[in-house]
């Protein structure tokens, strides 16, 4: 064995260790998020119900210029902007977050985020060493794809936190699925790092796959928000019609942002990556044009990317169409994300098994994993 091969094996096993370590830290973060939710539940928060049952005459009154008397001189404050939500929208305040305003809950939440950062860095290390061990981008097989994907998803979440977006409530849901994703990766999908890939050295392919993974991670964040929106919306509906939701539902949903905020967050996230997703497909087409001779071949991956794209376009159109806003649009967003998932897992498992090496001569050069 050559020296280079030895370093590679060393890197590969280092990568495995890092991935397992990150799973351990994610598990700790998971428990910290749980603690945040548990402590938060002690405080009584029932703002949604209060807002929905309060008098309708609560809409903003005209603001007045505030005058402060300070030692005889009159200091005028600058005018304040009063914001009204659109008519028809429920005026429900956002929940306080998982900690529910509880101080100890908040502390656990902060610990959870810190642990998430640590786990993210360890996992990132795992992905980078894996890439170094195979001397190519870390997405040659589904194991590598899974670890890269979850790293990016957590990165997107942390990025939103850094941008001071109110998204800490996503933490528990996200980390739970990240743990599932990694569990799947290290058990079912694990592939030793000596997987062969053909020498398709095209930077378009690199651009294409890396943006695809990023888009997927962002779509995933949007999908989580959409699911939560659907729950919160039915909760608010129930309260509004005088129903009494269960205690567990109230305890969880009270702390989430208002359904309108969740809906808007999901829309922003999905709309923001849609152009990038469009670009991803085009980059793929350009690569296909260089490698296969035709830029569009209707192969299953391309077809499902197209279906996903159309599904998200449907969602964006639905939001602009009267009568389709709200829940209906949210269902479309869920369908669109399901298409994305199917494209990455379903097509690899169910479809390409039949299609790969369709014609062997071409197949050898054409197998790129994506």
């Amino acid at each position: 064995m050559t020296l280079a091969a030895a370093t590679n094996e060393h890197l590969a096993s280092l990568s495995n260790t890092l991935i397992y370590s990150s799973m351990a830290v994610y598990t700790l973060a998971f428990f910290a998020y749980i603690a945040e939710w548990l402590f938060g539940s002690r405080s009584k928060v029932a703002r949604t119900a209060a807002a929905l049952t309060a008098d309708a005459a609560r809409t903003a009154s005209a603001p007045a210029v505030t005058v402060k008397q300070a030692g005889g001189t009159t200091v005028l404050e600058r005018p304040k902007v009063v914001v009204r939500s659109a008519s028809g929208a429920r005026d429900v305040p956002d929940g306080p977050g998982a900690h529910g305003g509880d101080e100890q809950g908040d502390l656990y939440g902060r610990i959870a985020v810190s642990l998430t950062v640590l786990a993210f860095l360890v996992e990132l290390g795992g992905v980078v060493t894996r890439a170094a061990s195979v001397q190519r981008a870390p997405w040659g097989n589904m194991y590598e794809f899974n670890i890269t994907f979850s790293t990016v998803a957590v990165g997107v979440y942390l990025g939103l936190l850094v941008l001071r977006k109110n998204v800490r409530w996503l933490g528990l849901f996200l980390i739970t699925t990240v743990l599932l994703d990694l569990g799947l990766a290290v058990t079912v999908l694990y592939t030793a790092s000596d997987q062969l890939v053909p020498a398709l050295h095209s930077y378009w392919l690199y651009i294409h796959v890396s943006t695809a993974i990023f888009c997927g991670a962002v779509f995933y964040v949007g999908a989580v928000a959409t699911v939560l929106y659907l729950f919160k919306d039915s909760y608010e509906n129930k309260l509004q019609t005088g129903g009494k939701p269960g205690r567990f539902a109230s305890s969880v949903l009270e702390r989430l942002p208002a359904s309108a905020s969740l809906d808007k967050f999901a829309y922003r996230v999905n709309a923001a990556v849609f152009p990038l997703w469009t670009f991803t497909i085009i980059a793929g087409a350009i690569w296909a044009g260089d490698a296969w001779g035709r830029y569009w071949n209707w192969d299953p991956k391309e077809t499902w990317s197209f279906i996903t794209w159309i599904a998200y376009a449907c969602y964006l159109h639905a939001r602009a169409t009267a009568g389709w806003k709200g829940r209906k649009a949210a269902y479309l967003a869920m369908i669109a994300f399901a298409c994305w998932l199917f494209n990455y897992y379903g097509v690899n498992i169910f479809v390409s098994g039949k299609h790969s090496y369709a014609d062997v001569g071409l197949g050898v050069l054409r197998t790129a994993g994506f």
Binding site: V65, R78, P79, S193, L196, H317, T321, K325
Partner: protein, 573 residues
């Protein structure tokens, strides 16, 4: 939902024209059925087709319609798979055939969906473009009566004159690239027209994209050619192994050129976890353009096709072609050729058939045909590793031959693959133990056929072959242009807010000027109030507040940094 709708219309009345035309989206009209004969129905149909609701429906249908094509074998992608499917599902296949499910993307119903979608798209774009032009020519609508009802609102009292305030507001808004004008006691301003422009550009780009794609499909040609080192090709229909073309393609459209494959070279990673991974594939060729062009040499690589006019020559596959010499019972050479073998795996384990059709006579001098199955390992890994090659390059080649004789069936008229042996009329050659004869040969070695039936030699110079795909497709430049425009248009459409700002300044009953500012976005967004706050801050500096008569000092005493945005209860942040 119905509650929301009624609320919206009430709101619309409140705002008057202020919120109108903030987008060019078609208004949703109730689907009242007309009773007005053909014209009424046509108009009704057209209105339905160009409504957002139907566009949405067609989009959904398009994505649903694309699904079967990814799950059912398609003739365009792999005709062989379709044949297998037909054989396996005798009841289902005719139904699929009727529905065009073996060629979904060119089926009648799939075309119907996208053609309807694009008619709808055009029907949508044209009026929207006019409307947009109208909006550009016109001016932002005047301030609504009650600015307090708008999503973002602020007010203060100042000692400056109302005219002064309005002038300052106009200057401020213009400086910030709003389209602004004074109308009555207020200034009306609007910004973010690029959103609409982007949206229109995006939808137009989709049409360009589709037209480019469709014409590409109609005029395209696409053929493959397998060439052993030393072979030549000229771009004419009979030269292709396999050829497909669009329905409007004509043979004359083939770009005239020719080329010879002089050398194929593949290099592979020799160690490490990626051992065997291809590093480079290169086909050295000599080509000439036109019928009598000058010969030029070049190299075609995997992602680097040779481009000649509209035609592109891609390197898509490669394999080995051992040179085989067959001598008959009399010792006469009846066959000597490079036999291209098809690779089975990444290490180029290959197989194929040597077919000796004419001239061969057996030991007794009788006419016969030979079919020899060939199984080839470019790198034989040693005893016990006969099943698969250990490395893709020619390190230790080994050829396994399995000869048969009889009728090859090539004259039966049925199309036959050159890589498969139809053994129905063939007989085995038996070895000493009475089993099918199978021999492993190294380069230069010769196999004897039993009973003096001849010899087969595996020659030392093993050739390589390269598979080329020659594609001619028009309009890919247009498709790329459309795609790039689509991305930019989309970004503009999704990231730019179109919003309006009004500033009203009037003298109050007590002689002090009351300034009111309000903002309205196309959709609710935190940016609108923020921007209004900034604008208000600047205007406030020009028209500072006047002390109030004291009544209002009960306002929120909390200090908030400038520009202040106070959400009303329940408003979104």
């Amino acid at each position: 939902m119905s509650k929301t709708d009624t609320d919206n219309s009430r709101e619309q009345e409140d705002l008057g024209a202020a919120g109108s035309q903030l987008s060019t989206a078609p208004r949703e009209e109730p689907a009242n059925l007309p009773g007005l004969g053909v014209i009424g129905w046509t108009r009704w149909f057209w209105r339905q087709l160009t409504s957002m609701r139907v566009a949405l429906l067609l989009l959904l249908l398009l994505s649903l319609g694309a699904i079967p094509g990814s799950l059912i074998p398609q003739t365009g992608a792999d005709a062989g798979k379709v044949e297998d499917f037909r054989a396996a599902h005798t009841t289902l296949a005719p139904v699929y055939d009727k529905l065009g499910l073996f060629h979904v993307y060119s089926s009648v119903w799939f075309s119907a969906i996208y053609i309807l979608l694009f008619v709808s798209l055009i029907g949508c774009i044209v009026p929207r473009t006019w409307q947009f032009v109208g909006q550009l020519r016109g001016r932002p609508p005047a301030a609504p009566k009650r600015l307090t009802r708008l999503p973002a609102y602020t007010t203060w009292r100042t000692e400056a004159d109302p005219e002064q305030v309005r002038e300052a507001a106009l200057a401020l808004l213009k400086k910030r690239r709003f389209r602004a004008h004074a109308a009555g006691d207020a200034v009306a301003a609007e910004k973010g027209y690029l959103r609409e422009l982007g949206n229109l550009a995006f939808h137009v780009a989709l049409i360009v994209l589709l037209v480019a794609f469709a014409s590409g499909q109609l005029y395209k040609s696409d053929g493959t050619k397998l060439m052993v080192e030393g072979d030549g090709f000229s771009n004419a229909l009979p030269m292709y192994d396999d050829f497909k073309s669009g329905s409007l393609f004509q043979t004359d459209d083939l770009v005239p050129f020719s080329f010879d494959l002089t050398d194929f070279r593949g290099t592979y990673e020799v160690s490490g976890p990626n051992k065997g991974t291809p590093r480079t594939y290169e086909a050295k060729i000599k080509y000439s353009e036109g019928a009598y062009g000058k010969e030029k040499a070049t190299t075609v690589k995997v992602n680097e096709p040779l481009k000649i006019d509209d035609a592109k020559v891609y390197l898509v596959s490669h394999g080995y072609a051992p040179v085989i010499t067959v001598r008959d019972g009399k010792g006469k050479v009846v066959y000597r050729d490079a036999v291209p073998l098809l690779p089975l795996d990444g290490n180029v384990t290959s197989q194929g058939v040597v077919k000796v059709m004419d001239g061969y006579r057996d030991a007794k001098g009788a006419k016969d045909q030979l079919g020899i199955k060939a199984f080839f390992l470019p790198t034989y890994g040693g005893p016990g590793m006969e099943i698969a090659s250990a490395f893709p390059a020619l390190l230790n080649p080994m050829l396994n031959l399995e000869p048969y004789h009889g009728d090859l069936g090539v004259d039966s008229g049925l199309p036959q693959s050159v890589y498969q042996l139809d053994k129905t009329h063939m007989k085995d050659f038996k070895d000493a133990k009475g089993a099918q004869l199978r021999v492993n040969l190294q380069p230069g070695e010769t196999m004897k056929l039993p009973d003096g039936a001849g010899t087969v030699t595996f020659e030392k110079n093993i050739k390589e072959w390269a598979g080329f795909e020659i594609v001619q497709e028009r309009g890919s430049g247009w498709a790329l242009g459309g795609a790039v425009t689509a991305i930019f248009g989309l970004a503009g459409s999704l990231f730019i807010q179109r919003r309006r700002v009004w500033v009203r300044a009037v003298r109050g009953a007590d002689g002090v000027t009351v300034v009111e500012m309000a903002g309205l976005g196309r959709s609710e967004s935190a940016k609108v109030p923020e921007e209004l706050g900034v604008l208000a801050g600047h205007l406030y500096d020009r028209a500072p507040g006047a002390p109030d008569s004291g009544a209002a000092s009960d306002a929120d005493p909390a200090e908030t940094p400038d520009p202040q945005v106070v959400p009303a209860e329940g408003a979104e942040k």
